[in-house]
């Protein structure tokens, strides 16, 4: 190959690399003053991993704790679609949602600063149900059985003192205030049963003592500090068996405060939903002066027909809107048949919550419950710090290698250093070009590779020295030196590349980034040592007309 072609190839590669790495304007979502906006930013097109730019990595898998899921593979594929739709609308730049293995979903959200919100959006089942509150007083009838069940398990729990005893009972005054307030309503709305039931509720056993009749059929209040106790009781299989058949117990999403006491509502609902969220076509957040934050939803025609049908059968009943087993707001009374439009009241929650809820409702319910199997969360400052430190280490490493190479090999060392500069450029360009992700171990690997990259040069230079020792001419010594060093360079680099490939295959996240950097570095160092530095020598030889000895 003639010198001209060699130079042309090198210059072309340098030009291409520079172009690949040139800061360019890209359109992406960036955060300005706390809100995400689509804007153009100018930056070097090197993708930074989550550990460098901060962000969140979540791995999700099917949660089988509440029942075995039959077709897991298919379920995870459908869940993947739902999660992807949700994340796409979530508002992060360059999110990643992908399937890992057969049963895991990986979500990566760069630059996110509210991990809790992100986790909620991803994990929320968004299973929407409309259920009619129980109007038969089923719970009151079942109270003796429930009390007996609680009593039977309480004897076991009492063995551990303190923990099992119900937390401090609400003060009497608060209790009275509550009853005073609600009893009027109750008598008005559910005449007949309520007075009798009220006494049953307040004078009964352990369980009865914890709950208060609310103002609509099927509504009960539990003091906030008792909620865990009641929940624990309800979770017990013995107690569950005592719950009236065909009914379910659901908690309200909100609390009500009354005087100094906070209460949470508990609803007894007909187990069969009159309709579910599968017919939902649209949902959008809104704020109304009377009801605060709401999410307005639209059902499709079929859903609307069913909804109209069912609601017309339940006029004057109360309809609970149940999202992921929580009753959203207070169940409204059905005044007349409802068609395709409806709304979910969010009470005191802010517009952000409404936005997130509308988002997950639009994206659809998760076909299976998901649980988080892995979460990593890196603050942006830590990432910036890591980059800063790595750059310092890189500069020092580079300086030391330059000193060693030039100090030992003089002029040839200078050629090697030029080669090293080109190596650095090419490696970074390869990473940018292949859209590889730069991670912290990757950066460390890159710094390390600066030290290792000169190995090929060292091998060649030592061979040239040997050939010169044998009394060969400068030109011949250089030729022979390159030729003899080649097999060792190729073999050692190829075996290193094979190891890196294995690392890539079996590594995750940061380690994968390391493997990619290693691979790019190996390729670039081979090309620079064998081809670029060789070309430098050829240039030097053509100019060295007065046959000076090679400085090596």
């Amino acid at each position: 190959m003639s010198l001209k072609y060699r130079i042309a190839i090198i210059l072309a590669l340098i030009g291409l690399s520079a172009w690949t790495l040139f800061p360019r304007t890209t359109t992406e979502r960036v955060k300005r003053n706390g809100v995400y906006v689509v804007d153009t930013v100018k930056r070097v097109p090197l993708k930074r991993g989550l550990d460098l730019q901060g962000g969140m990595h979540v791995a999700l898998e099917v949660d089988e704790s509440k029942g075995v899921i039959a077709n897991k593979g298919e379920a995870i594929d459908r869940a993947l679609k739902v999660v992807r739709t949700r994340i796409d609308q979530f508002g992060v730049s360059e999110p990643l949602v992908q399937k890992a293995g057969n049963d895991r979903i990986i979500v990566e959200l760069p630059g996110i600063d509210d991990p809790q919100r992100a986790m909620d959006v991803v994990q929320k089942s968004a299973f929407l149900q409309f259920q009619i509150t129980d109007k038969t007083g089923a719970l009151e009838k079942a109270l003796p059985r429930l009390d007996a069940a609680v009593k039977s398990i309480a004897s076991n729990v009492k063995a551990t003192p303190g923990a099992a005893a119900p937390a401090a009972a609400p003060t009497d005054s608060a209790k009275n205030a509550l009853q005073g307030l609600f009893s009027k309503d109750t008598t008005k709305k559910a005449p007949g049963d309520s007075t009798k039931n009220d006494t049953a509720v307040t004078t009964g056993g352990v369980f009865s003592k914890l709950i208060q009749q609310g103002q609509m059929p099927g509504e009960y209040y539990v003091a906030q500090n008792e909620v865990p106790t009641v929940q624990r009781y309800l979770a017990n299989p013995v107690v569950q068996g005592a719950i009236p058949p065909g009914k379910v117990i659901r908690w309200s999403s909100d609390t009500t405060s009354l005087g100094s006491q906070t209460y949470r509502a508990m609803y007894v609902l007909d187990a069969r939903p009159i309709i579910t969220g599968e017919y939902l076509t649209d949902a959008k957040p809104s704020q109304t002066p009377t009801e605060g934050t709401v999410v307005e939803f639209t059902l499709n025609n079929e859903g609307g027909r069913r909804f109209r049908n069912e609601t017309s059968k339940h006029i004057h009943d109360y309809m609970a809107i149940v999202l992921d087993s929580l009753v959203m707001g207070r169940p409204p009374v059905i005044q007349s048949a409802i068609g395709t439009q409806g709304q979910i009241t969010l009470g005191g929650r802010d517009l952000q919550a409404a936005q997130d809820l509308a988002l997950v409702l639009r994206a659809g319910a998760l076909p299976v419950p998901l649980k988080i199997s892995e979460v990593a969360n890196i603050g942006p400052s830590l990432g910036a710090d890591s980059i800063h430190h790595s750059i310092i280490a890189g500069e020092i490493a580079l300086a030391l290698v330059v000193i060693i190479m030039i100090g030992y090999y003089r002029f040839s060392g200078v050629l090697a250093v030029f080669g090293l500069a080109i190596y650095t450029l090419w490696t970074l360009a390869a990473l940018a070009g292949f859209d590889a992700t730069l991670t912290l171990p990757g950066l460390a690997g890159f710094v390390l590779s600066i030290g290792m990259a000169v190995d090929a040069n060292v091998l060649i230079f030592e061979r040239i020295r040997e050939e010169l020792d044998h009394g060969k001419s400068t030109r011949l010594a250089i030729d022979e030196g390159f030729r003899h060093a080649l097999p060792a360079i190729v073999d050692s680099n190829v075996s290193a590349a094979l190891t890196a490939a294995v690392l890539y295959q079996f590594g995750t996240g940061p380690v994968r980034g390391f493997a990619v950097t290693l691979l790019a570095g190996i390729a670039a160092s081979m090309v620079t040592a064998i081809f670029v530095v060789r070309t430098f020598y050829i240039i030097w030889l053509t100019r060295n007309t007065d046959q000076k000895a090679l400085s090596i």
Binding site: I396, V454, T499
Partner: protein
């Protein structure tokens, strides 16, 4: 021209017994300690929760501990991480890990609320959280082991093609030796075995292999020349001839590694330690493990070549040191 270790003719292989004794002792201490106390796996492999905290003002580890104890996290491991304002907390007691089977984020959420209540949101920032459920941990551990074994198999095949199986096997045994010494080193330094450390280990293996290949390449070349000398002498000469290269390359690599160790920050430090040790063990094994093993294999399974080219090959075992000065004599 500046030259170091030029035209040397040290009889390296001669000391193989001493060298093997030393390395076996080192491995025995390290692996013995591993067997007794177990591997200090990072939470990536065991499952658990890691929190890196940054306080506004210097903080006392004891205070964090009492806060965590009070909240019921009796197994929390608390470590200063660089400056006195930075700490890492690890939660990987049986109870905490079991709690994470239901959802990896659960312990992390509880710790957050404990921290914010105890120290206030303005005084402490959680800069990093890693929470991994036990099932993911065991999967990662299996993958790491597969990765190491697979890299061995692939290298063996490659070297068998490029050289021949004797060289491949000797190189793999030398590299396998490095796995054990590095594990022993990791144990003796109380480093945590994380994914990054596994990556460092694989890099060390690559580096050590590289070194072995450079020496074997010389041996291959000299064998082709058909010199009338024993493999023992050929090996010694190959090591001596590549000595300047070894010194130079180890120097530049060590320089880069030291830069990482001293300046690249706390997260990368375990990686840098392993790498620094790797330079030492890689060099050592290329000379004292790969060499003698090659001679031993050659002795056990002599190759089928004309006797003229392989004169003395049958006696070329590490034990036959009848001509200790042979290396110099042939020059």
């Amino acid at each position: 021209m500046l030259r170091i270790f030029h035209n040397t003719s040290y009889d390296f292989i001669r000391w193989w017994r001493v060298a093997v004794g030393l390395t076996v002792a080192f491995i025995a201490i390290g692996i013995g300690s591993l067997a007794l106390k177990g591997v200090n796996y990072s939470i990536e492999f065991t499952g658990g929760t890691l929190k890196q905290l940054s306080f506004k003002t210097p903080m006392d580890a004891g205070k964090i501990r009492s806060t965590m104890d009070h909240a019921g996290f009796h197994d929390a491991e608390i470590q200063q991480f660089g400056s006195p304002r930075d700490f890492t907390l690890r939660f990987r007691g049986a109870e905490e890990v079991a709690a994470q089977s239901a959802g990896a984020e659960l312990v992390s959420k509880r710790v957050d609320s404990v921290l914010y209540t105890a120290f206030g949101r303005n005084n402490v920032t959680v800069v990093r959280t890693e929470a991994i459920s036990p099932t993911v941990g065991s999967e990662l551990r299996r993958n790491a082991i597969i990765a190491i074994l697979l890299s061995f198999a692939i290298t063996l095949v490659y070297l068998a093609i490029r050289f021949e199986w004797r060289f491949g096997l000797a190189a793999i045994i030398a590299t396998g030796h490095d796995v054990f010494t590095t594990l022993a080193f990791v144990k003796l330094l109380h480093l945590e075995v994380s994914l990054t450390v596994v990556a460092a280990l694989l890099t060390v293996l690559g580096y050590s292999l590289n070194d072995t290949i450079i020496i074997f390449d010389r041996v291959r070349e000299d064998l082709r020349k058909g010199r009338k000398e024993s493999l023992y002498d050929t090996l010694n000469r190959a090591i001596n001839e590549t000595l300047p290269r070894s010194i130079l390359t180890h120097a530049t690599t060590a320089a880069a590694t030291l830069a990482l160790l001293l300046f690249a920050g706390e997260v990368i430090r375990p990686f840098a330690w392993v790498m620094l040790f790797g330079i030492v063990t890689g060099t050592f094994s290329s000379i004292y493990i790969a060499g003698p093993v090659l001679i031993w294999i050659e002795h056990k399974y002599p190759r089928n070549v004309p006797a003229t080219a392989w004169k003395g090959s049958s006696t070329a075992t590490p034990t036959s040191r009848t001509k200790p000065s042979a290396a110099t004599a042939t020059r």
